[in-house]
């Protein structure tokens, strides 16, 4: 029996191996809080992994017999994920109680990064599932990391239950795909199926299962409770990282699909998109808590991105990856600001608590305003062009109805996004906020970078769009 392991090629998982090593080391880091080595070790690991990304860039490293394909799309996603993790580290230093700010927290976070790295680079549905589970199991624990907070436990249980169901749904889709094509490879979607009747159901189940990660209906209900109950640093992370990973997987799925599977996929995307826009925007209108508002806004944002997926051939791929990039900057920025404002504070931060922030902390108020404007989609921020490209792709591919809904939804979203700005700049008083830290903090610096990037993507959108479309050359070529 000749071993078939010549093509393992561990090199293609270089960033994951770095992260894995760091995660294992972190399990054994003693101590917690300021004096602990946990945060430095974790940050160093992520930075080393980030440094490994350019090494692989452009190589399209294939390993494990085609089960791992580290192409530029995977690498771009990985870079974004690692940056997200770094920002959440900066938030964690403040958001977690001293006692809890220890190795395990960062270890779990690195494990989730490994899972997403595998997910985004997977060439096989089974490997996608593997990555999803590594991600999910770490996040289940992270969401309930503050065991004493009741809301946290509620969020954790909801997340766990819905996540398990979503995993089961995805697995069922995987099984049907195997039944239809006799293979679990991603390319199997394009191959002629032996039982094509199963493909539509398979495609829909796969997408719906992945929809849990991007908080798209029908698995969106966890988002508000989780964001509210989890430590704010974890919420920052969950609101961005799993969405990026899941969207990359969705991009691949949509790019590979053909025939009956493709039509079903398109239907699922359209449904999830419209439902997400409706649910997210309408619910966000009624929120008084800032974090819950951002949670529903996240559902709506994911729904906008979904428009690009059925429109891959019309530049949808580049539009989606550009949107993901901008989404990372603006949403990460919004959550980081929230983390900064609600540091060392018990209970959730209400929008009304922000009253008069502009006069007391003009810098913070400006940053938050930029993020809110970007999330609404108003120029000159990147948010405008992100929406613009996605809508353009949608119209060109013939989804005019969906785009119209999205435009209406955007108008509706002005009310709740801009209300934050109005409260900060228009109202006086507001004793809800404690004293903010003086000087430049790590998190403050991160927020600054996010502000710059949010505006920069709005000023030079073409440059970023080109970079994004270069990451997914196959898809942009018009499949």
């Amino acid at each position: 029996m000749a071993p078939i392991f010549q093509d393992v090629n561990l090199y293609c998982l270089l960033p994951e191996l770095v992260l894995l090593t760091g995660a294992v080391v972190l399990l054994f880091v003693r101590g917690a809080g300021r004096g602990s080595a946990a945060l430095p070790v974790a940050a160093t690991t992520v930075i080393v992994a980030l440094a490994a990304v350019p090494l692989l860039w452009g190589e399209r490293a294939v390993g494990f017999g085609g089960m791992i394909v580290k192409d530029n799309g995977a690498l771009l996603a990985q870079a974004l994920l690692l940056i997200t993790a770094l920002v959440s580290f900066a938030a964690a230093a403040d958001a977690l109680p001293e006692r809890k700010n220890n190795g395990e927290y960062y270890s779990l976070l690195l494990f989730s990064l490994v899972g997403m790295g595998i997910m985004t680079a997977a060439g096989d549905l089974l490997v996608i599932f593997l990555g999803m589970e590594i991600l999910a199991l770490s996040l289940y624990v992270l969401v309930g990391f503050l065991k004493v907070v009741r809301a946290g436990m509620e969020g954790a249980v909801k997340y766990f239950l819905l996540g398990s169901v979503a995993s089961a749904v995805f697995l069922l889709g995987l099984a049907l795909t195997y039944g239809a094509t006799g293979s679990t490879q991603l390319v199997a979607f394009t191959a002629p199926a032996t039982m094509p009747a199963l493909l539509p159901a398979a495609a829909v189940l796969l997408v719906v299962g992945l929809g849990f990660k991007i908080a798209a209906p029908p698995f969106h209900m966890w988002a508000p409770d989780v964001y509210e109950g989890a430590p704010i640093s974890v919420a920052t992370y969950i609101s961005v990282a799993p969405k990026i990973a899941a969207f990359v997987v969705l991009l691949r799925l949509a790019g590979e699909s053909a025939g009956p599977g493709r039509e079903a996929l398109t239907g699922a995307f359209v449904f999830m998109s419209v439902a997400g826009m409706a649910v997210g925007n309408l619910a966000a209108l009624r929120q008084t808590s800032l974090v819950r508002m951002l949670a529903y806004s996240g559902i709506a944002q994911a729904a906008y991105i979904l428009i690009g997926l059925p429109a891959l051939s019309a530049g949808g791929a580049a539009a989606v990856s550009f949107y993901l990039l901008v989404y990372m900057f603006m949403n990460l920025g919004a959550f980081a600001s929230l983390a900064h404002l609600s540091r060392r504070r018990t209970g959730t931060l209400r929008i009304d608590d922000l009253a008069g922030l502009a006069s007391r902390a003009p810098g913070h108020a400006f940053a938050l305003a930029v993020f809110m404007i970007a999330l609404t989609g108003i120029p000159p921020t990147g948010g405008f062009f992100a929406k613009f490209y996605v809508f353009k792709a949608g119209i060109q591919a013939g989804y005019l109805g969906v785009v119209l809904v999205a435009v209406v939804a955007t108008v509706v979203s002005c009310f709740y996004y801009l209300r934050v700005v109005m409260v900060m700049y228009g109202e006086e008083g507001g004793a809800g906020l404690r004293g903010l830290p003086a000087g430049v903090t790590m998190l403050g610096a991160a927020i600054g970078v996010m502000v710059v990037m949010t505006i920069l993507t709005g000023i030079l959108p073409e440059r970023f769009l080109q970079a994004a479309s270069a990451a997914f050359p196959l898809l942009a070529a018009g499949m």
């Binding site: 029996m1 071993p3 392991f5 294992v24 399990l27």
Partner: protein, 116 residues
């Protein structure tokens, strides 16, 4: 043939076990006094047992067991082909066990293996 005798044997075993219990019930008869139906405990008869609480350590042990039991499933398969795999198999299983041992040492370090 082998399958048939296996099934026959297991059937024989099950029939014997069930048969013994049935025969004993028939021959032994019912208890003579009601007191024999009370649990073997001192003092008052227990009111209810349904909310039996037990230490969480048992649960942790069970979790650890599941992890290692799954590991052993892999090891059995690996053991069958270790000759053919050569050095590669050794290295791979070494990495596998090392990762597992890291988790095990973590559990040890956290005190999950400590009783009393």
């Amino acid at each position: 043939m082998a399958g048939l005798s296996l099934v026959f044997y297991i059937g024989l075993v099950v029939a014997t076990a069930v048969g013994i219990v049935a025969v004993s019930r028939f021959l032994g008869g019912k208890p003579l006094t009601a007191a024999k139906d009370t649990p073997y405990e001192c003092g008052m008869p227990p009111v209810e047992m349904d909310n039996a609480v037990f230490p969480v350590r048992f649960y942790k042990t069970a979790l650890l067991f599941v992890v290692f039991d799954v590991e052993i499933v892999f090891l059995f398969l690996w053991a069958l082909v270790v000759r053919d795999l050569g050095w590669f198999g050794l290295v791979e299983i070494g990495v596998f066990i090392a990762i597992l041992m890291a988790a095990f040492l973590f559990a040890w370090w956290k005190g999950d293996l400590r009783w009393e």
